[in-house]
Symmetry: C2
Subunit: 515 residues, 2 copies
């Protein structure tokens, strides 16, 4: 998993200038789900959906730093019964449910407490990848590593790996977009992406001899947008694609979108100067990840594990990069909500599916049931809200029973937009539902938006107020209601248990209804 | 809380023949919420809503014996911080989340494990009130008590407290409706209702000197329908009210209602003979509860606690008793989903509200926030989905901001109706929403029902297919969608915490969007 990697910033997904040969090869030899959506276009809730296999409002961690309830089972809970070692190297954005653990008497330092605090992963190396000087941990392993390599400073993550030296010889922080063209001071081999890959290789070596599932989770190409040489100037402004933003969009925005346009990142990314400075660095960081994936694959081949390892490439959400006059993510345009999702299965059984791009809606929550099925277990579908993608790995055929809609959610209570709009923290949810053609966005307390992705793939024409589209709006609203109806909240009893306990009260002695 | 006590089987709620002088006096001197609905018309999920302050599909325990997730906070969690002792005497129908406790390493025998297993109550005396010979616990305290009183048998709960001797001198089980006219063999003073009241008095004496909240939870008038003398023949078939069931209802039922009509209890209660046999016993059990409430109140007065104690009378759901050709509960007619809800506040501050019957929709989930506010704490409204009823205790005025709709849910996966209808266990949910006039029932996989409670209070005319009612149906469907939107799943972070953490990433050093 890369962080903030837009689906369309891969060669295999049509980007004109970016170089991602490793990922392209995985797509060519695997299955590329080109209509895959994250369940929340912001790190924390998106990742909790990836890990729990459940929609954001089902797992409840609706935004960054909202603790995941202790009761939510995650990938580790589902895979460990198959004998798997389930580990993390890199970022999760998980916040532990300290209050829940305290209430239940769970010691956060105990083995169970650690799992509950780390999304169910064994934290082989947890590094959430954002370490401002104000809050950096003195024990940050990556900083210890950089200091061992001779980089001296209180916080080399910032001053070395995410800062550069400008033309005048001054130290400049990568936090500031104006510095994105500089080379990070760190040597490439010691950069975060390289280090994270090293640690993944360490884990794979360590785990040899038992089944494992590794969540290799790169912070990049997420901001701070600054890349080490040679990636810092691998791309130039000539490689930057035209912005997807129109005057009409800016002049007649939806109220919620308008409030987001007022955020700092939107104001800055609306400037062409900022796009030309930042996007080449963003692209360099992506190519760097791609190169390290090549290194990882080489390692798997060298130790004889490549033919035995399913590789999935994805991201937690996209990045507006100035499109629609917006920066960051959180709203539901394709640039933000669509994610890469490529699965490479090395086995001969997958040969028939190689290079396919199934024309259907995939979701991040599909990965847990996919992995569980790959591990040979039965997915717990009374808990899991996703579907297994395994059928697509062996054939081109589209299953008859597949989802008709995909849904993504956001809760922007923590953002300035809430204050701009004068809302309370419980009034800021929005839900996107799309059938692949129509994209309908249901804003609590505001009118909806509707886009026709077929005739308007750039999402420039909001049709929600068009007379001719009211039938579509009603249909999408009913689809949304149907989605709500089908949410899975009865998570403590399986369907199979119900089957064997149906209509049997009298057999247990409870004789109601007997004359 | 009584179990299975219909809202209209109280004198104060208009029943023509029943005698409930104690409850009537509480209503006369308190506030009688005559439009109160349970959140699920079946014991387990309804009670979990009473205890969590959350809708059934929020807490997830959708049916009897579905464990309540360990992460759900209950009344005890909310009240103990105010120094309250929060205890149970009687029934909860709670099933502990053994798998969740095992996963989190919580010892069910530990003090925390016991609270998690008992809906957060200190189990001063837990007795779920249903003890068939096949599954009765050898340690059942009520059986130990009966044996101490000289009643001999393996399971005197059944053979003594819930059985009678017929005209021929034969022992007859109260499980069978044909025996409801017999006197239970137990003497009234040793009956379940009397014993449960005794134990409540024991608790109140034990708790003297600190604030407390007691969930006094009678099993009666729930089946087995058999009462001790003199209550067994206090009412006769002359006291039985006319059945609310029409031929048209039986000939043209909704498919789900039709499937419920095929259940044993519906078939039996559709026979006038059964109603005339059972209902007098049901009424006797209610009057018995009322008499013991009088005894409890006398005790409170004797020890000087009456003026210091708020008393709430309610029930977990109703009982069809043959109305609509149905027995038991689970569906959403008034007989099933509406519950008594009377609050008596002894303080002078409540004088202005005495005898009022606020014309608004109350819900079972309102009690947790009500109790929390009465205890002087701030209700945790990021978790609680109910509203505090405290404003109604001090004045007749209707708050301007009150709910416009109330919702109740059922999941009948465990019932024979599911097999009759050919459904999977995940296809059996239904949701009722009413604004007090229109009652709309949304069945998953079936068309809805609509009743006009104003022109058709007996719910005999399903208007869902009437051309003239399609606008109302659409409005109710939109109200349901709005209800779904507002569900509270972000339970680990309070609104206040969001207020103080809004738009402050840069203050913590996360400088995104800075040039």
């Amino acid at each position: 998993m890369a962080d903030q990697l837009r689906a369309d910033y891969l060669g295999c997904n049509g980007h004109a200038t970016i170089k991602t040969p490793t990922i392209d090869a995985l797509a060519r030899n695997g299955v590329n789900f080109t209509k895959a959506y994250c369940q929340a276009p912001v790190c924390g809730p998106s990742r909790m959906s990836f890990y729990t296999g459940r929609y954001a409002s089902s797992h409840g961690a609706s935004y960054n730093n909202v603790p995941l309830k202790v009761s939510e089972k995650t990938l580790g809970d589902h895979l460990r019964p198959a004998g798997y070692r389930v580990a993390l190297v890199g970022k999760t954005h998980m916040k532990a449910d300290a209050e829940g653990m305290e209430r239940l008497g769970i010691d956060p330092q105990s083995s169970r407490g650690v799992l509950v605090s780390e999304c169910g992963f064994e934290p082989f190396e947890r590094d959430d990848g954002l370490h401002p000087d104000q809050v950096v941990s003195p024990d940050l392993a990556y900083n210890v590593y950089l200091k061992e390599k001779g980089y001296e400073n209180h916080n080399p993550w910032h001053s070395v790996a995410n800062s550069g030296i400008d033309e005048k010889g001054n130290l400049q922080s990568g936090w500031y977009m104006r510095n994105s063209h500089l080379a990070a001071r760190v040597s490439e081999e010691h950069s975060e992406t390289a280090y994270t890959t090293d640690r993944a290789i360490d884990f794979i070596n360590d785990a040899k001899g038992q089944p494992w599932c590794l969540h290799l989770s790169y912070i990049k190409p997420h901001w701070p947008y600054i890349a080490p040489a040679p990636y810092h100037n691998m791309y130039s402004e000539k490689d930057v694609q035209p912005v997807n933003a129109t005057c009409d969009e800016k002049e007649n925005p939806h109220p919620v979108v308008s409030a987001f346009m007022q955020h700092n990142e939107s104001v800055q990314f609306s400037r062409e100067e900022a796009r030309k400075r930042v996007i080449p660095a963003y692209m360099g960081l992506i190519t760097q990840v791609d190169d390290h994936l090549a290194r990882l694959i080489e390692h798997l081949k060298a130790i004889g594990e490549y033919e035995n390892t399913v590789i999935v490439v994805t991201s937690d959400h996209g990045d507006y990069l100035g499109d629609h006059w917006l920066g960051e993510k959180e709203l539901f345009h394709e640039e933000s909500a669509r994610v890469p999702l490529i699965i490479h299965d090395p086995r001969a059984s997958a040969d028939a599916s190689r290079g396919s791009t199934p024309d259907l809606l995939a979701e991040s929550i599909d990965l847990v049931p996919t992995f569980v099925e790959l591990a040979g277990l039965e997915p717990q579908f009374h808990i899991l809200e996703g579907l297994s993608l395994v059928p697509f790995l062996s054939e081109h055929v589209k299953p008859e029973q597949w989802r008709k809609y995909t849904v993504s959610e956001v809760d922007y209570a923590w953002r300035g937009a809430r204050r701009t709009l004068g809302l309370r923290p419980d009034q800021t949810k929005a839900t996107m539902i799309t059938d692949g053609r129509w994209k309908y966005i249901d804003y609590h307390h505001f009118s909806p938006q509707l886009f026709d992705l077929e005739s308007d793939p750039c999402e420039q024409n909001d049709l929600a107020n068009e007379e001719t589209c009211q039938v579509v709006c009603s249909e999408m609203e009913r689809a949304l209601l149907d989605w709500y109806r089908k949410r899975k909240s009865r998570v403590t009893v399986s369907d199979a248990s119900i089957e064997s306990n149906t209509d049997n009260a009298d057999k247990r002695g409870f004789l109601f209804g007997y004359w």
